[in-house]
Symmetry: C2
Subunit: 377 residues, 2 copies
Amino acid sequence: MTDSASTRASATAVAARTTGTVRVVGAGLLGASVGHALRAAGVDVVLDDTSPAQLRLAIDYGAGRAARDDDRPTLVVVAVPPDVTADVVARELAAHPGAVVTDVASVKLEPYLALRGRGVDLTRYIGSHPLAGRERGGAIAARSDLFVGRPWVVCRDEETSREDLALVEGLALDLGATPVEMTPEEHDRSVAVVSHVPQIVASVLAARLREAPDAALGLAGQGVRDTTRIAASAPELWVQILGANAGPVVDVLDALADDLRDVTEALRAPDAAGSRRAVADTIRRGNEGVERLPGKHGQNRRFEQVVVMVDDRPGQLGRLFGELGELEVNVEDLRLEHSPGAQFGLAEISVVPSAVGRAVEGLTERGWRIASTSNDG
Amino acid sequence: MTDSASTRASATAVAARTTGTVRVVGAGLLGASVGHALRAAGVDVVLDDTSPAQLRLAIDYGAGRAARDDDRPTLVVVAVPPDVTADVVARELAAHPGAVVTDVASVKLEPYLALRGRGVDLTRYIGSHPLAGRERGGAIAARSDLFVGRPWVVCRDEETSREDLALVEGLALDLGATPVEMTPEEHDRSVAVVSHVPQIVASVLAARLREAPDAALGLAGQGVRDTTRIAASAPELWVQILGANAGPVVDVLDALADDLRDVTEALRAPDAAGSRRAVADTIRRGNEGVERLPGKHGQNRRFEQVVVMVDDRPGQLGRLFGELGELEVNVEDLRLEHSPGAQFGLAEISVVPSAVGRAVEGLTERGWRIASTSNDG
């Protein structure tokens, strides 16, 4: 922790924006990570959790201290599952009349409407959603750096005071995240398309592998692995998330089902006039969509890939990156592909186009085998 | 090439199985790569292509020599787009009565039926499909190692002689690939589920990003990137592939559409009895499907991830892997995640569970910041 604190201090050269005590309710992956990060910044963190075991673990790991009756938190972070977020927010608003209360739920409108429906005064409530972490984890997986560089959505409304908003955005900044202001509706529509529907799609695609013969699975390459990777997510959490964002998710699913139906009908009559055009349009629209995803540093830059064969021995990847460093080639992105049945991997490194020649020549001179180069996208 | 040849010789300690001249028709990514690989093994390779420029490029790059009237190939590899594969196979069977003819098309039944329909004697034809390469490339992207470790499907039927089958499987082995025998029907159903439908799904999912506001795209994480990565594929080639495998693809799409409809209807009425159960089942079936994908070395092993923060400077990844090598931690898989707006990356390395402790302690001692650890899947 000390190392993180001193590193953070030297990196930012300012004290934590968050002052006073922060009370974190829910000591799982997100809550405990918030605790770790704030403690690294010198902030007093109180932890609470309905599970005494989870609470004990988080405290022992250094994410914060146990609650005391004389605690007067300035900020309460409710880090509980979406189903119970509204309940706990209401309780905390009542228990700590001097505190701003925020949360971390993956959906923002439902908790807000649930609270409004109960007549809770929401002046001191500001919804948050840090887009960080993995859906599995618990306190044992918590780390102080979980939020660094990630977007942190903050939902303001006309009741939100400037000071309270600054408090929550200061929390995000102290955690190394980038605050992004949105309305709850905007947020929910956004995560529907960039997170919730991809989850559903990966799951229904992966479900097709259940019926597939072993021999078919033996032909699997990186394409099916990438498209189904997130199908490993935990059902319990996703049932809550999807149920709470059902409207926006269904809107996207309906549009997707239309496109799927169009290409399916075209393939049901592949020789019919217009079929090939319909299939080509499907692929082309996908090209356009994926090009809109921002690249590193938020830019939409094109990179080229250089694929290098790497023996399956410890140290080989180290040598590769050491030599790339000597060649002054910055690795923008990396994917390591393992070959079923072979004792080696293919390291696909993404570099700016101007570095490709230098990388290929330099690596080849040093005895590396370049498997292929290709344009990004 | 010399280095590859000597390495291959030392690696296998046997001469190439392929003897005589191999004629490769189509000098694009696959054909030129076959040429490079065979030449590295000391085999005489003849190249041909309808494009004089592509042919010249492939020859200049060393993938083979120009055709001569006195060529008597023992094997012909037809490496042309799926639409023209049957035509070229028929032509080559007639032009080289002493040769076995194979191809590389991504679909196997349609070319076979087209040839049968024309009354072509298929005794000397054996369909192949090497599952390798990238859909974009051309001769300039060709490499001798393209097929190493990859499955190479070989379609035999009752007419296939043992000697001819050995010739084609010998070709696959000389290229470093693993021959897998299947019927054309089995092959097409297999690639429908592990390749063709994932392509379509990625495309229709990515198409949703066209309508998404920039702010929504700013929240994109690794999940949507992974599920849409292959949506960057080239339309022209995929129109041919999907059109030629329409039947099996539609079967899988219909089953997928049913699942998608079930979860969509459940979400349309999220509070109805059974809705949560239906959504949970969707995620759970996806869990089961993705667990069936084989891991490295063809085993279905579980790995654990250690996520390490890596500064965005050349040489940092090199240092990391060098130190992992010193710790004798083998990197089973690697994913580098870039953080939008931040000057660093998160290197998610997969290791065997028994190496996690050693990796985390060792790296932490050496000053690395571990972002999180989590179980695979």
